[in-house]
């Protein structure tokens, strides 16, 4: 293969990997949006909370990666429920502008709680050093593959939950038509808590997966937030399959841009993707109407 084709093939492979990881927090965002109907910017700090919870479990308590990932999910989910109940839920009646601003304030507050406890230093997880696997000209890191597996497993679990369990169906009913769901006796408050637990838990899991690839600090989640929102908007805000498709699109797009841009522009590429989609097809690839 000519070198440029090899390079593109490598970038596409990397893009699918980062896209799959990106899909996890993007699903969290879009699920919360589908049920509660506002873009929750606090997702950024919950991703960071998850990354740090996983760090504590992995480095301080010496747990292997898989239980640490579970910790990231549970802690971020629990923080999500508490912070929503205490801070965002009371402001929701004041309208989505107020709620969106409050969610930014919440993100900055949580970030600084972490900064207070852990400082600004970059931290890494305790990972075994392994040689990359080679498939012809394409190189893949074993850790990346493990991350990919975790992301796919998390998504499969969520799909199973939404498609086959009674609670999952109730959650979809609320997203579909809150009034009708209420008439059927589904408690919107309980569903709100549940969707926050699942959504923010996925954000935390995603934050840890992002951190496993690099390092973590109190801004880990905020740095990724543009890509996460890009994934959700490109796929169609509120659509879970859309978030997956959007995340893969954004992931591959961001990697391909590396052909002519430095990796520091990753978030900017996500922003351009948002602008393009809103101009050409505001509902996103698989979403509902956007106006």
């Amino acid at each position: 293969m000519p070198p440029i084709v090899e390079e593109i093939a490598q970038l596409v492979v990397n893009g699918v990997m980062t896209g799959t990881i990106l899909a996890v927090p993007a699903i969290g965002l879009t699920t919360i949006y589908a049920v509660l109907r506002f873009p929750n910017f606090a997702l950024a700090s919950h991703a960071t909370v998850g990354a740090f919870a996983g760090y504590v479990a992995n480095v301080k308590l010496g747990l292997p990666i898989l239980p640490a990932v579970l910790c990231a999910f549970l802690v971020a989910g629990a923080v999500g429920v508490v912070s929503d109940e205490a801070i965002l839920k009371p402001v929701r009646p004041a309208g989505f502008i107020t709620t969106a601003i409050a969610s930014i304030a919440l993100t900055i507050a949580l970030e600084n709680v972490l900064r207070f406890g852990f400082g600004n230093d970059l931290r890494g997880y305790d990972l075994p050093i392994m040689r990359d696997w080679r498939f012809g000209p394409i190189r893949v890191g074993p850790q990346q593959v493990e991350n990919l597996g975790i992301a796919v497993a998390a998504m499969a679990a969520l799909f199973t939950f939404l498609a086959f369990t009674r609670t999952g169906k109730a959650m979809r009913a609320v997203a579909d038509n809150p009034m009708l769901a209420g008439i059927k006796g589904i408690n919107a408050d309980v569903m709100g808590r549940l969707v926050n637990f699942v959504g923010m838990g996925l954000a935390g899991l995603g934050g840890m997966l992002i951190g496993l690839d690099t390092t973590i600090d109190p801004l880990t989640g905020f740095r990724a937030i543009l890509s996460v929102f890009a994934a959700a908007v490109v796929g169609g805000l509120g659509s879970i399959p859309g978030a997956v498709v959007g995340a893969l699109t954004v992931g591959v797009g961001e990697e391909l841009c590396l052909l002519f841009l430095s990796p520091d522009y990753r978030g900017a590429v996500g922003f351009v993707a948002i602008l393009l989609v809103l101009t050409l097809r505001p509902r996103g690839i698989l979403g509902q109407r956007a106006y």
């Binding site: 910017f41 107020t98 900064r115 905020f222 922003f271």
Partner: protein, 306 residues
């Protein structure tokens, strides 16, 4: 100490200008802007680059900064105004982040994270530092006063009435024959222009700008200022800006005396406090401390009972 107080007054003036700009967008037109700091940065960078690289006079550089921010505002509004407000929230936040990413990495243009230093100020170098500070305070004061008068005129004008009507009920405004889309875009452009002008004033005052200055926290300061003064209330926006600067500065003196915390922890505590304050305001005073006074017109028929 005097210089410190004057510097704080200049900062408060710049925040007041931003709060006035935000008031047009949020208070009058009811649109969200989570990326204030992006427009502020555009104003600052455009004036810094045009005065340094192109040798444009300071006043013209500032006008260019305001115009550029306004033009970007039109662009952002054109893409999102027809969509649900959620998208404006996402795009404005994303815009501010993108400006920060680009200004950190486009080293050939913005000198990256090292920032741009040596931005000229009116009379800096020829005047004594104290005289420069006073002169700058006068300039900022005059601009804030002029913007206040314009903003008040705007609020009372037919244009401002339409904006408030759109804010309260877009459909009713449309039914009354108002071109909602055009009004929103113009409101956003005006507000963004004031934000850009504030950025330009900041750049020429401190003589140094860098991406790390344009963080989301600054956006929260301005929201807090506007809420403290009352949403839709221009005089309140100015008062609120001074209150916020006073609060922020007083923590600077208190926090070093908290025993047993490091500098990083102190900074974190400060940011937590700002965020917590804003959350409390949003929860208990979503319309601000001094809400807009509305003229309540009694419905027809009820006058006979009174």
């Amino acid at each position: 100490m005097e210089n410190y107080l004057i510097a704080m007054a200049v900062t408060a003036g710049i925040y007041a200008l931003m709060a006035l700009g935000l008031n047009v967008i949020w208070g009058l037109a009811g649109m969200v802007n989570l990326g204030l700091v992006g427009f502020f940065a555009v104003g600052a960078y455009v004036t810094a680059l045009s005065t340094i690289k192109l040798g444009v006079p300071i006043a013209m550089g500032m006008a260019l900064g305001a115009l550029a921010a306004s033009a970007v505002g039109v662009f952002v509004a054109l893409i999102t105004v027809r969509l649900r407000g959620d998208y404006l929230a996402i795009v404005t936040l994303g815009f501010a982040e993108t400006i920060r990413i680009v200004s950190s990495n486009a080293i050939w243009l913005t000198n990256g994270t090292d920032g741009i230093s040596g931005i000229a100020g009116p009379g800096r170098g020829t005047l004594s530092p104290a005289a420069f500070n006073l002169l700058y305070l006068a300039v900022v004061g005059a601009i804030v006063a002029a913007t206040y008068v314009l903003a008040e005129r705007l609020r009372a004008s037919p244009f401002g009435r339409v904006l408030r009507a759109i804010r309260d009920d877009e459909q009713v405004a449309a039914v009354a024959g108002k071109h909602v889309f055009a009004f929103k875009v113009r409101a956003f452009a005006l507000g963004a222009g004031a934000l850009g002008l504030a950025g330009a004033l900041y750049a020429h005052y401190t003589s140094y700008i860098a991406p790390e200055i344009f963080v989301p926290l600054l956006t929260l300061y301005i929201k807090l200022a506007l809420l403290a003064g009352g949403l839709g209330n221009n005089r309140g926006a100015i008062v609120g800006a001074f209150v916020v600067v006073f609060l922020l500065e007083s923590t600077r003196f208190v926090i070093p005396h908290v025993p047993g915390i490091s500098a990083v922890q102190g900074a974190a505590l400060r940011e937590m406090m700002v965020a917590a304050l804003l959350i409390v305001m949003l929860r208990y005073y979503p319309q601000g401390l001094v809400p807009e006074r509305l003229r309540i017109i009694p419905p027809p028929g009820s006058a006979t009972q009174a």
